[in-house]
Subunit: 141 residues, 2 copies
DNA sequence: CATATCTGTAACAAGTTTAGTTACATTTTA
DNA sequence: TAAAATGTAACTAAACTTGTTACAGATATG
């Protein structure tokens, strides 16, 4: 249970919200579909709210809804909202600066990281929440 | 120190080996450049050997060298050798199958995962170990 | 052949991260 | 004012990565 599944959860949560556009959905209802604790959902919704993908309202009759229509939310935005944006980590401890490789490898890797991030973002930007929703509704048996 | 830096280490290790093509390098020497323990390096070399990127020899005067020339080793192969191949994780606990979203979201995410993996692999396949080595040598002040 | 040296690997400790949980303050409706 | 919901802090548990020690097995060399 130490693998980062926040992106998966975020897509799931947003899809649930998209299925009920216009309604305010309670974190408990979302938690039920995701099969987790409402607090976990609220934490995630906090990140999505910061990225201005959802809007929440406190108080009785409160809940959360999408901040935009599903066609205007790409999965790249979702990924950016919940991910640290690093497919692989750089060195934990700094390499030996007396070795030419140790001295320069980090710059190479950092550059590589940026290329990969761009590539991932491009792939994800080709998908919208509406697209996900359509697959879900279509697959419903 | 719980972020996966194996790919970074692997590129580092292989670059060191590439700088000394034909020689057998000891794990202790590599560990010095990477600034870690020789056992950590040997563990990593084991994975790289399984992927047939390096060859090791036990015993006195033993060590490790590249199994192929650096022009013929792409970073996509390196990534495949050390990574589980998943940019993001699927749900830890299975979603609620009574909800249409919970029932079908995993297939959507799995498909997405494959697209991203392909995209990352394609980006990395455009780089060879020789290319990395050239940058390193060039940057040497 | 004996010894020194190196890899391969198991076992364990420590630190980090994620998810789950409880508890409670705050907001808002009715 | 009471009920119901979010926001958030604090803690626990589990999993993963790295670092470390220890030792068996292989091999070159005197």
């Amino acid at each position: 249970m130490a693998a980062n599944s926040q992106f998966s959860m975020a897509v799931h949560v947003l899809t649930v919200l998209a299925r009920h556009e216009g309604e305010k959905i309670k974190s408990e209802k979302i938690a039920c579909s995701v099969n987790t604790n409402p607090v976990v959902i609220r934490r995630l919704l906090g990140q999505l709210a910061q990225a201005e993908l959802v809007e929440s309202q406190t108080g009785a009759a409160g809940g959360t809804q999408l901040a935009r229509s599903p066609e205007r939310i790409t999965l790249a935005e979702v990924y950016g909202a919940v991910s640290c944006g690093e497919v692989f980590a750089l060195h934990g401890k700094p390499p030996d600066k007396n070795c030419p490789v140790g001295r320069n490898i980090e710059a190479v890797l950092c550059n590589l990281q940026k290329q990969i991030d761009r590539s991932v973002a491009e792939t994800l930007s080709r998908h919208t929440l509406q697209g996900v929703l359509e697959v879900i509704e279509q697959e419903k048996p």
